[in-house]
Symmetry: C2
Subunit: 178 residues, 2 copies
């Protein structure tokens, strides 16, 4: 079956600093018409640093949309025209102060494909050197160190709920077990 949905028209209903929202009229596979509300974002990167002792760094950050601080892998938005790998290197340095000898791509995820274009590129960082952090102006983070087994436990106990952090943990753990 051809599952393709075709765009008939697109109307921008909101243009903000981090997202654009469109309402598109489409045709669905049986020829009927429907609408799709779409949040367009720049996408981003997620980078899990793992040191020689098998310990990683996570960041605790207030998430306004959830009214609480969440524990997450270091991550950030792609800047205009920026490639994922240098963005990952930049975000790792900004958020944790770490530089890495080796940055290994682990694919990408889509965070909520039903209504959002967001794609996050995943990276594992090894061979770490600690330096200074460089937070964005309105960014307030706490950096915490965990063993990889502790991260797994925090995920299974529902203490880590952030989907990108679950995905990067699973992919990094599988890579490191190889």
């Amino acid at each position: 079956m051809d599952l393709t949905e075709k765009r008939l028209s697109s109307k921008t209903v909101f243009e903000g600093r981090v997202m654009t929202v469109t309402v598109d009229e489409i045709s669905v596979p049986n020829g009927a018409r429907s609408t799709r509300e779409v949040v367009h974002t720049s996408g981003g990167v997620v980078i899990l640093p793992v040191d020689g002792e098998g310990r990683t760094r996570l960041v605790r950050q207030f998430r306004y949309a959830h009214s609480k601080a969440l524990l997450e892998a270091p991550a950030g938005k792609l800047e205009k025209g920026e490639e994922p790998l240098p963005a990952a290197v930049r975000e790792l340095k900004e958020e944790t102060g770490l530089t890495a000898e080796e940055v290994i791509p682990l694919g990408a995820i889509v965070t909520t494909p039903g209504f959002c274009t967001e794609v996050l590129y995943l990276f594992l960082a090894r061979g770490l050197t600690q330096g200074e952090t460089d937070f964005d102006e309105d960014e307030f983070l706490e950096i915490e160190s965990y063993g990889m087994d502790e991260v797994k436990k925090l995920i299974l106990e529902n203490e880590i709920t952030d989907a990108k952090t679950v995905a990067i943990y699973m992919k990094a753990a599988a890579f490191l077990e190889k």
Copy 2:
């Protein structure tokens, strides 16, 4: 450090069928002001059915925001006032035709907490009986059967990129290994 961001004002800039978008003025921990663009959604459920042979069912569905069909765990939006568990039972039946003797809660994830309120509740379904599907009017799905090991392989090979599917796989696999 108190990481709390406080709402000073909120303005609704878009109200659609599946989302409301607000732009909120906030104060950040150092007292400075900033804005947050927030996508408000109803949240949803994800349910992974696993049969007596350790095989699951995934759905392949066109995702307009990504212009392609993606392979995902069965999932759906919470209807107004609906509790997660009955919603999961409903979505499993609608999308795969399956009913389950046992529906086990596996926590929840946030899909993209930087700008979206979405929370997805995760469930494992066991003791399956096949019946008829009942798709939503503008929903076109293909149901595919995979062993749990095959799902892991598809995730690690980047064939499955949907974050909720990665999360439910990891949590269900850990539960079943216990």
